[in-house]
């Protein structure tokens, strides 16, 4: 590698870094929220595109920057539409699913989502809870994680963090 290649790599990398930093900053905090599996994949893709631009910059500099911006625009549009219109949020976002509620397993939901009982029990144990009687509900979230809600008192009222689930149960 000669000096001119080195200088070119340095200058182009610097400009790419600044460009990408500003594009991301413009697109807002939401771009990198990882609330669903898809968000996570997009974030990793963005990083990979950036890495590829840096390393193959004589071949794919402009294509890479263009793809980077395209991914951001798609993410922007899908979050913009789904935060404003419930129709889009239903189409674009998976919904959380209730798997266990007050002592009852929802077997057909578990089969549909391909979660065996052992995984539900594992999630409960990971919260340090030894008895299923102490659990109010277990929910499969859109990013693939299981939320375990402990029973704080012996009453089942006020479970209003579950209101987004009821419509599709």
């Amino acid at each position: 590698m000669d000096v001119s290649t080195f200088v070119r790599i340095t200058v182009v990398s610097f400009l790419c870094y600044v460009a990408i930093l500003f594009v991301l900053r413009l697109s807002g905090k939401r771009t990198l929220v990882k609330m669903s599996a898809f968000d996570f994949i997009v974030t990793v893709s963005l990083g990979t595109v950036f890495g590829n631009i840096l390393i193959n910059q004589d071949e794919i500099l402009w294509e890479g920057l263009y793809i980077f911006c395209l991914l951001l625009i798609f993410q922007y549009l899908s979050s913009f539409l789904s935060s404003r219109y419930t129709l889009f949020s239903r189409l674009l976002k998976a919904h959380p699913t209730l798997l266990f509620y007050d002592g009852t397993y929802y077997e057909h939901k578990m089969v549909k989502e391909r979660i065996p009982k052992s995984e539900v029990l594992q999630a409960i144990r990971e919260q340090g809870i030894g008895r299923t009687e102490e659990v109010a509900a277990v929910i499969l979230e859109t990013d693939g994680k299981l939320s375990v809600l402990p029973k704080k008192t012996n009453e089942m009222k006020n479970l209003n963090t579950l209101t987004d689930l009821e419509e599709n149960q």
Partner: protein, 164 residues
């Protein structure tokens, strides 16, 4: 793949691994911390550069190492500057946003930040809260995570209490 390529790949893989561990170690913990939106992308980009070096070692070894070091260096400069200058900080970093506060969703901020109710409730459930009555506030942080704050028994939390 000939035996020679095999051996060279091991050499390059081993060599670049050691160089990269050293570079990361020298540049400090902050390089790989994910405090704002951009940091995670850079971390993935670093990984992608390393993978490319190992896979395309014949053509890209030196270019790859230069790109890797540059990325670490640029992150170093940007964090160095943002610790020292509030102007740079406000350019590089957005501010956290309050999306749920005093038993109400802030619909305007939610639309502006493109966050749905489902995502807020999901964040609350993940922290193991059963009822919204226990929640004082939910904040969208600059790294894109949602922080859930519990109500305090001693004091009614004011809006100002969540930002410093």
């Amino acid at each position: 793949m000939t035996l020679e390529t095999f051996i060279r790949m091991i050499g390059v893989g081993f060599g670049s691994y050691i160089v990269i561990v050293l570079v990361l170690r020298l540049s400090g913990k902050r390089t790989l911390s994910k405090m704002n939106a951009f940091d995670f992308i850079v971390t993935v980009a670093l990984g992608s550069v390393l993978a490319n070096i190992i896979v395309n070692h014949e053509t890209l070894f030196w270019e790859g190492l230069v790109a890797f070091c540059l990325l670490v260096f640029l992150q170093y400069i940007s964090t160095w500057l943002s610790v020292r200058s509030s102007t740079v900080r406000s350019i590089l970093k957005s501010r956290p946003a309050l999306v749920y506060y005093s038993d109400e969703y802030d619909e305007k901020t939610m639309r502006k930040e493109r966050i749905t109710k489902i995502e807020i409730m999901q964040a609350i459930r993940k922290d193991g809260y059963v009822s919204l009555d226990e929640i004082a506030a939910v904040i969208l942080e600059t790294d894109g995570t949602l922080t859930v704050m519990e109500k305090s028994k001693e004091k009614h939390l004011e809006r100002e209490d969540f930002f410093y």
